[in-house]
């Protein structure tokens, strides 16, 4: 998973969870699992991804499946960047 580390960095930076970064891997659940992962967090992560990778994320790409785990988000990032 090419963008796993980038994804973990962005999620932890945005949610201010840097001290727990070591616990994050592809299987870490996001939406409905992390209490910090509310709708504002989703939007903050989308914006951070757009800023970081210079891509545009469309409305219909914002889905529960994408934000299910760190791994699904990393795969989405890869699809947007490559």
């Amino acid at each position: 998973m090419k963008y796993l580390d980038d994804t973990i960095n962005i999620v932890c930076d945005v949610l201010v969870l840097q001290d727990r970064k070591g616990e994050f891997d592809a299987s870490t659940g996001l939406i409905g699992v992390l209490p910090e992962f509310d709708s504002m967090a989703v939007v903050s992560i989308i914006t951070a991804l757009e800023d970081e990778f210079g891509c545009t994320i469309e409305d219909d790409e914002i889905s529960a499946e994408v934000f299910e785990t760190v791994g699904t988000l990393a795969i989405f990032v890869e699809s947007k960047v490559d």
């Binding site: 949610l15 800023d51 409305d59």
Partner: protein, 275 residues
């Protein structure tokens, strides 16, 4: 404690506006009062603690701070659906008058997020305006609106309901409907004025220096491209803008009382130079 806090209501055009005044025990000769131009919706709540922290530091320097909830927001009268660009401006204009009546000689506008856009619009109408300080300003109302609408989309993730789309929300608003975002009803009027607001429209009329703080989550991150381009253009055009990059968490959007002490430190450094 080197300050006192007094709460009161200012008579606004549509209702009373809740006002907090942090008054220094020993006012400095500079006679500066910081007037907060808050962000929108939930971001406003998440920034309260930062404003309180700044007030504690500013009063220690002999400066006052006024925090006024615009009509329809916070503890002021009215409902959020009654908030519009004019009511946001009104809070700042009344705040400037209030600062004068309290004996302050000069005003610094502290614009946070969309509050910076409102501050820019109002700046030419505030006599004795000393300068503007921005915390993570939104330079484009359209981008800020997109962010808000994305929150609405994100809130429906995992539910069976039709999430809709930003295009649909824009259409609904243009047809005169309220758009509800995380419990805040945004009126069509507010929606449209937000959409049209942009730093480009107001910056020419602002003569005072602007101190612009951008937070970065880590040293490896860069500020958004649109912001860098805007700053480059207007600093090149001779505008007095000083830009600071500060490593800090996104305090306006994170749950709990997330603080950004580095933002306060940088702001206090600026305030000390102004005293």
């Amino acid at each position: 404690m080197s300050y006192s806090i007094s709460a009161s209501y200012l008579p606004g055009q549509h209702g009373r506006l809740f006002t907090l005044h942090y008054q220094p025990d020993r006012p400095a000769e500079s006679g500066i009062c910081i007037l907060v131009s808050p962000p929108l919706g939930e971001e406003m709540n998440r920034c309260r603690y930062m404003c309180n922290l700044l007030a504690q530091e500013a009063t220690g320097l002999g400066m006052g701070l006024l925090n006024i909830d615009p009509f329809g927001t916070g503890d002021s009268e009215g409902l959020y659906r009654q908030t519009n660009w004019q009511t946001l401006e009104e809070a700042l204009l009344l705040g400037a008058d209030k600062a004068k009546s309290l004996g302050y000689h000069r005003v610094i506008l502290l614009g946070i997020r969309v509050g910076a856009l409102v501050a820019m619009d109002v700046a030419p109408r505030i006599p004795n305006l000393h300068s503007l300080i921005f915390w993570q300003p939104s330079i484009s109302g359209q981008s800020a609106l997109t962010q808000l609408l994305r929150i609405k989309l994100a809130a429906s993730l995992g539910r069976s309901e039709d999430a809709g789309s930003i295009k649909q929300f824009e259409q609904m608003s243009s047809e005169g409907q309220m758009i509800e975002i995380s419990g805040y009803e945004v009126s069509p009027e507010h929606f449209q004025s937000l959409k049209q607001a942009h730093f480009e429209q107001s910056i020419d009329a602002v003569e005072q220096p602007i101190y612009w703080l951008t937070t970065l989550a880590s040293a490896e991150r860069k500020p958004p491209r649109a912001e860098s381009q805007f700053l480059e253009k207007w600093v090149g055009n001779g505008k007095k803008i000083e830009h600071f990059e500060v490593i800090a968490p996104p305090f306006w959007q994170v749950h709990e009382r997330t603080l950004a002490p580095t933002v306060i430190e940088q702001t206090v450094t600026l305030l000390k130079e102004m005293n």
